[in-house]
Symmetry: none
Subunit: 417 residues, 2 copies
């Protein structure tokens, strides 16, 4: 297996002024063609630090990607260091000079001394053109390792990788095949999920590897397959996921890039149904989960954010007595909110939330994190009580996810009532 290392050079990333997104992008591209990233590193604009990481990377990797440090200003050192490292001089490269001259001519500007120097390249490198900027990229095959040095500006780097570097890599290395698939799970924590599927996990064939990728309220199960044939590996992975599905069917809402609210929105659209919301504690966040995705206006009609009790009464028709006798955070109130939203907005379904998101407002009977959610549907209304223990934002996020998941399971006839 070809082993890759990715190095970012520059103080601005090292000190945190810039978020490095290049490294993630490169590793995803490598993963697609079966190259295994084994290390990512970020070092500053310091010669000794840069040389040190080059020495280390040479021992570990078959191919090393270096981004950054190629600009025309004084603190950009990469090119000189690479020339020293490979024991060769810098020389004006005619194609590089032509490119940088054209670049400035096209923009009606003269070539400065500093910019002319961008055509100085280590003589041992293969020149790789940069159609988007002035700093060329370089390819070295030295010290039994391939080295690719590229500018750090993301759109320049991506263009160079896609048009020049990835095709060269495929030609140069004999690549194995790696395939990943995700199943996305909601409504069960990582550790419970792990208990539930441990027998399945233990029986996985050795060429498939399982990983849990958790985030707040959602766990991604990833199977990675190593082999020679992409179609076979995908079939193997599909078959393994099929085996475990009976255990986790109710929790799995999608694959790869599927997002929960978008998946539910798609089901609503497929069923020609519409949705409204009535939000108290989630305060607009539940609606935003749907409306953040393009196309949501096809099923999402709108909603009422009823923070104040008056709004619950006037806009949603909640009975004043319910609030007086049972409080706004109660099963009766959240059901009335959902029914009111469904009726007043004329939708097939309505979701409602009412609870204490915190950090203040809790009581002994109704501590912070007590949140009621409800779903009004054509045949009635159902409610669930949650007891969260997180921060305000976590409670808002998790109760929104749980409400959306309640609707998902209702739509799939998968509610054990």
């Amino acid at each position: 297996m070809v082993r890759a290392e990715i190095i970012t050079i520059g103080d601005e990333i090292l000190y945190g002024q810039i978020l490095d997104t290049n490294t993630q992008w490169i590793s995803l591209e490598l993963d697609k063609i079966g190259i295994k990233t084994i290390r990512k590193s970020s070092v500053g604009d310091q010669k000794d630090e840069i040389v040190q990481i080059l020495v280390e990377a040479q021992k570990r990797a078959d191919i090393v990607f270096i981004t950054g440090g190629l600009g025309p200003t004084k603190d950009d050192l990469t090119k000189k260091i690479l020339a020293d490292f490979f024991a060769c001089p810098l020389a004006l490269h005619p194609d590089a000079l032509q490119d940088v001259t054209d670049f400035f001519a096209k923009r009606g500007r003269e070539l400065s001394e500093l910019n002319r120097d961008q055509a100085l390249l280590p003589t041992k490198c293969t020149f790789i053109p940069n159609k988007q900027g002035t700093a060329p990229a370089m390819w070295f095959n030295e010290l039994e390792t391939v080295w690719v040095s590229m500018p750090g500006v993301p759109f320049e780097m991506k263009s160079i990788m896609e048009t020049e570097v990835l095709p060269r890599i495929k030609e140069f290395f004999k690549l194995p095949v790696i395939v990943h698939q995700l199943r996305k799970v909601v409504g069960i924590g990582e550790s419970y999920l792990s208990d539930l599927i441990q027998d399945w996990e233990l029986q996985l064939p050795s060429h498939l590897k399982l990983a849990y990728l958790p985030s707040l309220g959602i766990v991604k199960l990833r199977l990675t397959g190593f082999g020679k044939d992409e179609d076979h590996l995908n079939a193997d992975i599909e078959a393994e996921f099929e085996k475990v599905m009976p255990l986790i069917k109710s929790y799995v809402f999608g694959r790869e890039r599927d997002e929960l609210a978008a998946v539910v929105g798609q089901i609503l659209m497929d069923q020609h149904s519409t949705l409204a919301v009535a939000e108290s504690c989630t305060g607009g966040y539940l609606a935003h989960q749907f409306t953040q995705y393009a196309g949501s206006s096809a099923y999402f009609q709108g909603g009422v954010i009823s923070y104040a009790n008056d709004v619950k009464i006037k806009q949603l028709g909640v009975d004043e007595l319910i609030i007086k006798n049972e409080g706004a955070v109660s099963e009766s109130c959240v059901k009335a909110m959902a029914e009111g939203a469904r009726k007043h907005l004329g939708t097939t379904f309505a979701l409602a939330t009412s609870g204490i998101a915190g950090p203040d407002g809790g009581t002994k009977d109704k501590p912070v994190g007590t949140i009621w959610i409800a779903l009004a549907h054509p045949d009635g209304v159902i409610a669930r009580k949650l007891t969260q223990g997180g921060t305000r934002m976590q409670n808002i996020h998790l109760s929104s996810l749980t409400a959306i998941n309640l609707l998902r399971r209702y739509l799939l006839n998968d509610l054990a009532e």
Copy 2:
């Protein structure tokens, strides 16, 4: 100077499934207290790779931060490797066990075997509680280096750093005095701001350093002071910011941890005023800007998310003819929405949005990014037209910020009409 190294453990970051934002955050926090990050690395869930980076980091750094690899599942290895590396066993830590037991008890759930194992810690570590999750953090002072191991879930890591680790670091190392202050600015871009204040920037004394920290719609101006006395540095910084205030007064909405919607909420509360929203294109996100903060129920009454035209008409009283003749994305419609929300929800103020967030739905006259915002106030209603050029989420975010800023400037009598 104290030298820090930051290590991320986990295949999901190494292979690019997750974008690592922890490392940037940590390096920014270290920068604030005068610790220099010298290397950032990312390795996979492989024992030999993890041990190798620990050996390397020990030679270079005074303090090593390790995130990731602490979850309860089988692919999380960090804890066992650290125990081996420091030549000590894992043992059940009573405080850690108490914390994880409480964590599950609070949620009314039983402690599984897997979760109980989260309280197993290397005996040489100092236990650092994790109030947000089940995997505790660890502090080691071994091999002449400080080691801090934390879970990789960003909100857990940040909470642990802020409440436990940063205070410990300040106590442990003798750090130079560095003072930072922010002024937060909205409604002006970074380059315009930079032009506006360049004379002031040039006259800054040499012990104060200015940085621009831009994010979508907001720029933070940071002055950093280097010296020996915190009070003196703070006074110097205050004095310099006072000098530039006449130029930027209208744009500055706060300091340090001030958030725009919370600042506006505080002004509303001080003036005993209330707020409602009527949202079309922002779809709940504008309301969420207010309701994400505790205490917002004191002034935020609620709102109507009127995605469908029917909801604009029925819930907000928008005249059907306005929508027919001028469209929902129009000055008349957004003004009617704001006035309707103010009237129906009985508030002092109401904000409304109506526009084309994209990526679809644009026309020649009203391209994607055309967004109207309005403010209904006791003396009338005002509207503004925005022409954004971003993604759907950027358009939603920027138009929400602009609406909130319109209210802010109205409340401060700072609107040039």
